[in-house]
Symmetry: D3
Amino acid sequence: MLSTLIELERLKRLDRTGWVLRGFPNGTESVAAHSFGVSVTAMLLADELERQGVTVDVEKVLRISLLHDWAEARVGDMPRTATMYFGAEARKQAETAAFHDLTKPIEQVDARYASLYHEYEERNSLEARLVKAADVIDLLVEALALERAGGRGLDEFWEVAENPQLQLEGAAKQIVEDLLQTLLKARAEILSRPHC
Amino acid sequence: MLSTLIELERLKRLDRTGWVLRGFPNGTESVAAHSFGVSVTAMLLADELERQGVTVDVEKVLRISLLHDWAEARVGDMPRTATMYFGAEARKQAETAAFHDLTKPIEQVDARYASLYHEYEERNSLEARLVKAADVIDLLVEALALERAGGRGLDEFWEVAENPQLQLEGAAKQIVEDLLQTLLKARAEILSRPHC
Amino acid sequence: MLSTLIELERLKRLDRTGWVLRGFPNGTESVAAHSFGVSVTAMLLADELERQGVTVDVEKVLRISLLHDWAEARVGDMPRTATMYFGAEARKQAETAAFHDLTKPIEQVDARYASLYHEYEERNSLEARLVKAADVIDLLVEALALERAGGRGLDEFWEVAENPQLQLEGAAKQIVEDLLQTLLKARAEILSRPHC
Amino acid sequence: MLSTLIELERLKRLDRTGWVLRGFPNGTESVAAHSFGVSVTAMLLADELERQGVTVDVEKVLRISLLHDWAEARVGDMPRTATMYFGAEARKQAETAAFHDLTKPIEQVDARYASLYHEYEERNSLEARLVKAADVIDLLVEALALERAGGRGLDEFWEVAENPQLQLEGAAKQIVEDLLQTLLKARAEILSRPHC
Amino acid sequence: MLSTLIELERLKRLDRTGWVLRGFPNGTESVAAHSFGVSVTAMLLADELERQGVTVDVEKVLRISLLHDWAEARVGDMPRTATMYFGAEARKQAETAAFHDLTKPIEQVDARYASLYHEYEERNSLEARLVKAADVIDLLVEALALERAGGRGLDEFWEVAENPQLQLEGAAKQIVEDLLQTLLKARAEILSRPHC
Amino acid sequence: MLSTLIELERLKRLDRTGWVLRGFPNGTESVAAHSFGVSVTAMLLADELERQGVTVDVEKVLRISLLHDWAEARVGDMPRTATMYFGAEARKQAETAAFHDLTKPIEQVDARYASLYHEYEERNSLEARLVKAADVIDLLVEALALERAGGRGLDEFWEVAENPQLQLEGAAKQIVEDLLQTLLKARAEILSRPHC
């Protein structure tokens, strides 16, 4: 178990390249910090969904949130353009292989982790899609924080909020879209201040 | 929900003061990155425990792991010496109050979160004690990473590994102590290298 | 004497949490750097006051400036919200106790330091109040520098400049208020630039 | 031309992941800083070679040195393990495609750049192999600097110095191996100091 | 050769003080990263010039670009105001002496390097003047990146773009001025965005 | 007064180049943080001296400590080697001129500051020499902190502790030398630990 933990510890220092490539300083956000944000967001989303009467496997939501970026400890945090050049399929395969090798030392449970990882990659359950929604929301919450502190040049990240393609339906869709709208409004307010 | 997420985002940048006060550079580890490490560690511990036939409420383990440090978004990451001066009881009260205010905007589920937070503070369940064990283990995994990279002066953190007081029993106790022993051995190996 | 100096050295790396919690990068300003700014500001204020014929104990002003944040080496740089939860009185007591322990090794002069610290905490002399004014001014000079470099989201810090409650009178009041007005004007100029 | 320069500017902030994944702080070395080191090293190697009577196309050496890492502005600085999962061939193809797109805006000379990039990837000239040698040497000079400052855990990087496979011959081989031996000796000296 | 490389490695960490003194965080740009930017820019400028039929010694351009800031490894990155107090002549002499000492260990080629350095200092060739132009352009490309990310307060750097005094003529003058105009336009576009 | 404060604020971010050039990360210590350390050290030294019956003008000691590095806001933190190339005399003149211009806006007291600065530069009083001793001691306290955290390669800084040439006499000499010996002992203890 320790060898896996030691490798995952590296995510605490690994920069999310998106900010760095847009002119923000090193250390703006680590992959581990982002994974924390995704997990917390997913938990709140799932709880709100349950409150509205929809059944969600919250344990699964949290497990997927926590492990969805583990492969980056071996593959790095590839910028979006990298995917373009490798192809989404090759990237998925490489990350899946990295994930498997990383979890191999946790024998007897590794198959379960692999299955959760696969579920996320395929977005083939409500839980997986909720985590993807949380991934997007956490990105925008971070963008909002940077913009509040004066950061600019992040418009492209916000486009997804206008037209999220998260394959959600019913209450889940509503909750996520409401949250995205609140985010857009919070952003508009920040940017419209006399001294934005 | 957004106001809570915005506050929690601050944990991504909040330094764990322990490293900074011991001469390590700013940005060594954020509270959010640590919370991620604790959550992942707790998940692996719980899964191993289940594998050995012990029933654990993994969802609860993950919920507690994710929320146990939220109060720091308002109270800061207090160094150990601070607790000495405020008193453990006052600190617990202040953090509990901060936690409540932070989760107040997530109406209807906030009571549940408060209860989980209370459970952790009181260590009155296997799940709460597992998270505390994960908290200690993640600290040592980080210390190990820093020492592998040449960092020194962290001996006091390792003392807990020799004599953990985690109120665990049976399989849980065994798993955690085995992991701590493996950590101590990994450390000894690093420090005994010809050019430590 | 050395043990005290070693502890105070920690202030060189301890982040002022105010900036970090508002989205600025780690390392924006250390407590030691702020203490330097306060001391320099207090010296200039005191000299201007003396020039206008008011008697000030400048040595005392400088001593108080230099030592007023020492307790943070043990208690950390608590965010404003932390004070809310602990209560101003408890915070004062904790910091005073930390200050005493920190200065205990400098026997025979520690009582004098304790008395200066107490004087600052109580604001019961012109000198103590001048240091508090310098504390506010240095905060705003730093905020101004961050805003000049594009930083935003610091409005709340500026509110104090509009309505400082520093218990100063006569020439001291005039000098400080003039400086605050000049700061506000410098800020307005920065924010009104075509490309603020 | 400007769009290419703007993209390459990103390399100034992009961390070399190798250090970060081994526990060193963000900002330890940027890709741009490394490229500078490689270019300077390659220039000195080429000049020494010429001094010994071997003809080298120094202009080509410098061009290759400067451009050999440009693709990372789009693909990121992939850790060694990433290559394992994508396959060396896929990585080469992705980086080549990224390089082409990046240089497309510099019409009329882009073909020439593509050819130099290809030459480096194939190591099919003395000049290309010299740059590869410089790449290795700059890595070790950086490792040496980190170790001199107390950094540890970099042994694996030094293995290449013992058995470099750089396809060099004659004087070039001799010069590079001598330099690697001097590096190893400098390292041994650092590590053997009483207080290494 | 190694001792020179070891000293030059220091440029990878040496901050360009211009940004730091204007309120940007430490680590914004290293001297080595800037030298890389200058070299790449100079290469593109020279290639465009050749394409237009002007003969340029590109090898010389690249050599000068790479070595023009080496003296800073011993003298530091002096802010503009420092030159004012030391006098431009004294600064040139000090840097030249530092450059000589730094390259002394690379016997037999050091005279050639000294001559290139002198050529740059005197701007007495097209190649030297092209590198100076690249030095200015790289500064503005970095400023643009910082402004795109929300940075402000850099107006004074842009003044040079309006009135470059680079002693260039003919095609070289045209190419550089066109590039500066494109930079100014790119900047204007950034600053005119609704939420600059 | 504000323009002077704004310029001095820059010292909060200006790196002490000594650490950076020796392989430590940016942000290790700012000039402002060092000035704070010097001021505090000087205050403790002066108080101990007074306790032993020697008369010291503590106000003057503190004033000199606070202002002795102001010139660096305009001249930068020059590495030791820089002084070699400019000459100690030229450096002193440049820094003195920078100091004068920096304090010119604080009319009517600037002459007094100039006189204190001159006194420090000439070391022609007990107070000036005490500040110089504090400057050395603060450097070593910082070095000690870095070494405790695993930093190495700082031996040359410690040589001064063996043979300080601080022109002190009597009790002052004794106090400073005792403190330096305690520092050397503390260092020896750190370096002799089993896992230094």
